[in-house]
Symmetry: D2
Subunit: 248 residues, 4 copies
């Protein structure tokens, strides 16, 4: 039987892509589309089992409290969460042990897997660097995802007791070796025509391993959101980060 | 304190690279180099704690029995193992519960990780294909590694209940879509100058994930063998495949 | 002074992207948008110097005849041209020596360059193969572009007197080595999320050269059309193929 | 009939690889191997038609003068040439119009083609960046080849009247955007296991073009040297750079 899904922020750019994705999936049934002036009661009236929330930092906490109170599982991509907010969600969940809440900053499943695999691979290689590629209108360099990926690699190397990454560079043009994120070099390429791409390269004796993630369009978050919707009921309590659902 | 290591087949191409690798590692001490006419007693006399075996299918079982009998851990890359041989090794290990034996067909750590990550990623993507690249003197196509990678992907897709990979091709030149390994397409490129390279590509809505492994030289197995040597004491009993040691 | 441009088929998917591209370019001025029920006289009345035609095989010949008759240069991406049509265009041009007509099957400048560079590189490498990647709804495999690329490589190898590409394969799964296009192997990957991508790989002693073209969206023809518009006045007579304009 | 070849510096690392390459080529005949204490007369006595020089800056000028004086064509990979030396060679050649001298800083044909193609492609793309990858023992970053590639792109953009490469970066970690070579960003990756690799990326509307060169071993210069040997007789006078021979 199909899972009954409600979407909050259903008319936003992200929400409307989620609506379309749910409609196309045979195992999911869209029962409620709620936008900013609509009542949350529609979720209850239509029997939503899982709610997807891509709204605003100002609205999301009220939405999550309502859903938990009605035993509806939540998959949340809205930004603005910090430890205080996570604690609040955990508190609301205390009386609702069967209810699951997934809050994730990134639902692009290829990016989430790249980060997870990078942490797993890191202990086995002498060298590791990150190169990210984005369109030239991006304001920050490197991307937040690339920085997080490098931090994960650095942390995994520390735990494995690896030494500093070898680098004999003596003579360098300024910036040639990229930025230094916890000892891992990160390079940012800006290229008209590209969307969002990340390459993580590991090297050791006579070999290298490259993890590459390419986003070709603006709806790369949809498969990850649907994976979250399908699994949230099996993960009661609060989960932060989609990787916890991926069995890796 | 350094782990005391003996190498069997120490004068072979592979064995001599292992010897060099052990010598270079600060945390390992080479205590015995044994080749075909040498006595295995040198292992005991010199206090070997771990033995690496890259010998021949005819010699390896005697070597493993001797080591288990003396409580020496084994890291084995010699080919020719089948279920009967695995059962025999397990039998020998019955009276020696603290001893570990690792038998692995592939110690190239980047290739082993690529296969492991491919299985993990497979459930989350609609499409998956494998492209392998080798020098033009290779006799078989696709490579054994590429076939195993595809089989792992196919198995992971089945377990996750995924449908057939989408492919609307109606008109095709013979061979254009590659070979079919359990429903996963595998392509083999042969290229002067290349060594051994594999690319596993996954795709879903607006994104792709690529795992690429490059072997640039003939000693890419060394880091994996050393990883095995370092961990075999923590894995008593028989372990088949280096991936079991990688914590993934 | 900006070049005055008219667009035929201005309301079609391709034509409207050309319209937008012309509007954005500082050195071009859009003076006429003509669609199927509009009169061609608008081109003359508004002083169009160059016309872009993305219409239909049924309409294009009349359009080109009209433009040549009025001394208007033409950049044509409409399909359906054969030798008889090219001869007809040349005949019309006889009385109009200063007028240029560019007819090209492919305006994606990265694809056009990839094909041109592949022909140039081919004589210097022992091995050459082509791998193309497209979305899984594509009906033919390999793509027409990949076939043309392989034919260009094969022709360049013949002219340079190169022998057959080395390949020792003895044992092969059916299709593993791809399709054979004039002796050059061509592989087709079908991948959800991808758009249109082509990789041409050349190998010789200890090295390889890879030419890769990625189309991320449906408007990759625009820069090539604009390059054609800017240069057509300097190329009187009929030119077939954008590569003739690229100075390569 | 095979071309008769002499090799100067025949016992050096590079020279001995050239010797082996000439021996393997059906259309070339090795007639003299000369090293530092040997007499150049062996070249004349054995009828060398072409001489390959990989010696030292101190020896090369004497060698070239001798060869020109005897009407022997020269293919020179020795370093240390400047404008004064080129002028000297041109002067020696004045009385020997039929003799060809090729002096090239780089004979790795894939690298030479990458540089040449990069200059050709540059005018047609809004964006261009270079990423080079080397083993971690390299002392300089970026590589000389990558810097020259970027300079070639910058020069081609200037000649085509292109504006500055677009880049909206406002907030950046130091070094993230690479080094700035004449307005083209160049990134250097250092990776255990890798040898020498260069990637030149161009982007414009909805597409990118990537030129990638991989050196897998230390003898990637051999095919370029042999190409020079085969063609030097058809290029009388002084030629600087192998690209002049490649017909591109």
């Amino acid at each position: 039987m199909a899972i009954k899904v409600g979407v909050l922020g259903a008319k936003g750019r992200v929400g409307s892509a989620v609506v379309a994705g749910v409609k196309q999936a045979d195992d999911l049934e869209l029962v409620a589309e709620v936008d900013q002036d609509d009542s949350l009661e529609a979720l209850v009236e239509n029997g939503a089992e899982v709610v997807v929330d891509f709204t605003t930092p100002g609205a999301v906490m009220g939405n999550v409290e309502f859903c938990i109170g009605h035993g509806i599982h939540c998959v949340v991509g809205t930004t603005g969460f910090d430890d205080a907010r996570y604690d609040q969600v955990r508190e609301w969940l205390e009386g609702q042990e069967g209810t699951g809440v997934l809050i994730a900053p990134n639902f692009a499943i290829s990016a989430v897997l790249t980060m997870a695999f990078a942490r797993q691979a890191a202990p086995f290689f002498e060298s590791a660097e990150v190169v990210e590629y984005h369109h030239p209108n991006k304001l920050d360099a490197p991307s937040g995802t690339a920085i997080k990926t490098a931090q994960g690699i650095a942390e995994a190397r520390r735990q494995a007791g690896l030494p500093t990454i070898p680098d004999a560079t003596e003579q360098s043009l300024e910036g040639a070796r990229g930025s230094d994120v916890d000892g891992v070099r990160v390079h940012a390429v800006r290229m008209t025509g590209m969307v969002a791409h990340e390459e993580v390269i590991f090297g050791t004796r006579d070999q290298s391993l490259t993890l590459r993630q390419d986003s070709y369009g603006r709806e790369s978050f949809v498969p990850g959101v649907l994976a979250g919707v399908r699994q949230v009921a099996q993960h009661p309590g609060l989960t932060v980060g989609l990787d916890k659902y991926l069995g890796i």
